[in-house]
């Protein structure tokens, strides 16, 4: 079951307008930069982007934002830390050109986990009594108040991996794991860009973070050179 694609462009070629896509990565760490660049070239529009943040550390998402490919974002930390350094997405949001839903980090990732696990929704204590709870159903369980939050199932997930075999079994590297596993499990079509691509049997079966059943496409990429930090975008993208 060889899931390899020849390059990122081929792996994203069929993504239609209006697709929802989960992007792994936590700021600069573990973001699928090659697949994101390929999607900017491919040009699909009216996209829903599901990502920790949008154009803060994961600078490649600004290519999609600046191309006006993004219509909606679902994030837990959408903006630059300082309001004076607004990202291209924040500027478009301010002009009502795009929309954004924000969830606490645990709710954000649990929505994806629930979607992956075939659940419809879950109750969480996070956000009770805050803006996050506005308009949401609450329920007292064992004397404690919880919010109802719904599952999320993206059409696609873009994942950055360290080592992957041709069946799509994945090993992540250090904190580049972050949101990647649950995003991969939740999406209908999961595309993995991997710094290393090996034959089945070459990875230690005990070390697999993401079993291949959750992965549809794999593409080999170079190890990116990343400048750590979220204050300033690099010159070249």
């Amino acid at each position: 079951m060889d899931k390899t694609f020849p390059n990122p462009e081929a792996a994203v070629a069929d993504i239609p307008d209006g697709a929802s896509i989960a992007f792994g990565g936590f700021f600069t760490c573990g973001s699928p930069i090659y697949l994101t660049r390929a999607l900017a070239g491919q040009g699909a529009r009216n996209l829903t982007v599901i990502s920790q943040t949008i154009g803060v550390g994961n600078w490649e998402l600004n290519l999609l934002v600046n191309n006006r490919q993004v219509k909606h974002a679902i994030c837990n930390y959408p903006f630059a830390r300082s309001a004076s350094k607004s990202s291209p997405f924040e500027k478009q949001l301010h002009n009502d050109e795009v929309t954004c839903d924000v969830y606490p980090m645990g709710t954000f990732i649990e929505k994806l986990r629930a979607g992956a696990a075939g659940l419809g929704a879950f109750y969480t204590p996070t956000g009770v009594g805050t803006i996050v709870a506005e308009g949401k159903e609450t329920r007292i369980i064992n004397g404690k108040e919880y919010l109802l939050e719904f599952a999320l199932k993206p059409d696609y997930a873009f994942i950055h991996a360290w080592k992957t075999d041709k069946h799509g079994n994945v090993i992540f590297h250090k904190t580049a794991q972050n949101y990647n596993p649950e995003m991969a499990k939740s999406a209908n079509i999961t595309i993995v860009e991997s710094e290393n691509l090996v034959e089945p049997g070459e990875l230690d079966p005990n070390a697999i973070h993401l079993p291949g059943i959750f992965v549809e496409r794999v593409v080999k990429v170079a190890r990116p050179r990343i400048q750590i930090g979220i204050e300033t975008a690099p010159e070249e993208l």
């Binding site: 930390y77 959408p78 990732i109 986990r113 204590p125 972050n178 649950e182």
Partner: protein, 227 residues
């Protein structure tokens, strides 16, 4: 207000040291951005494990030079080192640790803290960002941590108290703060109200009260902050 320039209290580093003293050995600890991060400078040799919400236990000091790995950062996007016993995991598992009650001590900054233990730390209404903002993991940590400590300056940049009867900014969580550590005081949140436990050297209880909106209960054994 004229006294503002004179009332300095202790430095941010010493607030962090005072908190490090308060956290017992054997604790799993999560530190937020700002003064809380400085607590990590005071735990060398202590039996404490730092959790980084990106997905790491035994997160070590900031990495420099050849120790920097682009795949190893903390939640503030700083390169970090591993200390022996480190492990990595997904953000989903990290949030289980935060929300599920596995973090013994969480230290967070705040914009406002109320006498009932509410606090606000993610949204400054004057920023113009409306209801959309950088919540990150703060709400999960706030509802799940066994002990939530706030580390902050006692008053804001314009000289207004940050410790209030009720928060006016959007909340991070309701009724979760256990203790507040500032440049002027250590204050405990109790069902009876805020108890002033310690004051900074050279600062009187009356001065702390004058910069705090709700009435403070002065502890019978009120002490000077000693670090």
């Amino acid at each position: 207000m004229s006294k503002l320039g004179e009332i300095k209290g202790i430095t941010r580093e010493l607030i962090a040291l005072r908190i490090a003293q308060e956290i017992p050995d054997g604790s799993y600890v999560n530190l937020g951005i700002g003064i809380p991060t400085l607590v990590s400078n005071w735990i060398e040799g202590r039996d404490m494990i730092l959790q980084a919400e990106i997905g790491m236990l035994n997160c070590g000091p900031i990495a420099e030079g050849n120790d920097v790995d682009q795949d190893c950062i903390n939640a503030s996007c700083q390169p970090v080192t591993e200390v022996p016993g480190a492990c990595y995991f997904s953000d989903c598992e990290s949030m289980i640790m935060l929300r599920g009650g596995f973090i013994d001590y969480a230290v967070l900054g705040a914009l406002q803290v109320a006498e009932n233990g509410d606090f606000a730390g993610w949204n400054i209404p004057s920023s113009g960002r409306g209801k959309i903002g950088n919540i990150g993991g703060s709400m999960d940590l706030a509802v799940g941590a066994k002990n939530l400590y706030i580390a902050m300056e006692h008053i804001n940049n314009t000289g207004e108290p940050k410790i209030l009867k009720r928060c006016s900014y959007p909340l991070t969580a309701r009724g979760v703060v256990k203790k507040i550590f500032t440049n002027l005081a250590v204050i405990e949140v109790t069902p009876e109200g805020l108890v002033l436990r310690e004051v900074a050297p050279g600062i009187s209880a009356e001065e702390v009260q004058s910069l705090t909106e709700p009435g403070l209960i002065i502890a019978r054994d009120l002490k000077e902050i000693s670090v």
